[in-house]
Symmetry: C2
Subunit: 158 residues, 2 copies
DNA sequence: ATTGCTGAGTCTGTCAACCAGACTTAGCAT
DNA sequence: ATGCTAAGTCTGGTTGACAGACTCAGCAAT
């Protein structure tokens, strides 16, 4: 492979670094998982993830601040107004990240019982999967079929 | 949306939870990013990510233990034998996760300069992207087109 | 053989994050 | 008033992150 070209470039403004700066904490992924499963209330999330309340409080605040979740009021019969947490469109765009984690987990980190949740196309009911493809329409099976090249935002290191 | 069915199910053996348990730490993603970019040596990774040496040491050990990276000996001219860290096939399978993070970061978390790295199909040079599709071949544009249903590993809560 | 160099990794003290369990708060109901 | 409940905060102890100095192994030059 030789010395990778990337060593000449700065990694400071990398998109992965930026993304991980926002959502890279352990519990944050679980909060997002619940959000995508339609679990929206503090107590439900806390029970399902078993995370400390304080941490959940922090993470929700951060996700709201970053505009991945929105606080929406609701009111149950005979109860006072409360807030639930719903994905914004910026949050919904994270779906591929969660699906990718789920696919990998199902391949490599889960017991023989099989997947706990399956994803179906809402319109036709067929199973959903994530695929790497190129704009010419070829399907890529492995990271080895991809060549990273410098993009417009690339900057050489000093 | 109504009360989500998932509240009746246990979240303990969720694939996302399992995946995050292995790779869910902030710095781990950056280590993997470097690995996919072909950066394999302790010092190079440390310089590019600016992470504390101790943390890098821990994370590499963990990734090796989990069989995402392999330690491979190499020897430079007039230097002693050292080890570099290469992705195993289990590690390579994580590629979609990194690509998904990168796509999201480019959409939502990066300045106007544009992407720092672009991905090309090795065989045809066209840009690579990640897509949700169903087995009938439909392309899905949003998380809203997906319906999660209980899978074979689903278990009701007590 | 000693000295120095280098890349990889460890040790130490400090400081921030996490955690469990108890406490607080706001609004509704009795 | 009193109680109830979901959401969120406070407290003190424990774990993890961090920066900077240190160690260690092997090669090379003296």
């Amino acid at each position: 492979m030789g010395r990778p070209w990337i060593l000449d470039y700065d990694s400071a403004n990398c998109a992965i670094g930026a993304a991980v700066g926002i959502i890279g904490e352990r519990w944050t992924f679980l909060v997002l998982r619940e959000a995508f499963n339609g679990v929206r209330r503090f107590g439900d999330i806390q029970r399902r993830t078993a995370m400390p309340r304080q941490v959940l409080s922090d993470r929700l605040a951060r996700l709201v601040r970053e505009d991945l979740l929105r606080k929406v009021p609701y009111q149950d019969e005979g109860k006072r107004t409360r807030y639930e947490y719903r994905l914004s469109s910026k949050g919904l765009d994270l779906y591929p990240v969660l699906v990718a984690l789920m696919q990998w987990g199902n391949q490599h980190a889960v017991g023989p019982a099989g997947p706990q949740v399956q994803l179906q196309h809402r319109d036709c009911g067929e199973p959903v999967r994530l695929q790497l493809s190129c704009e010419a329409g070829h399907i890529l099976d492995s990271a080895r079929d991809v060549t990273p090249v410098p993009g417009p935002g690339a900057r050489k290191t000093a």
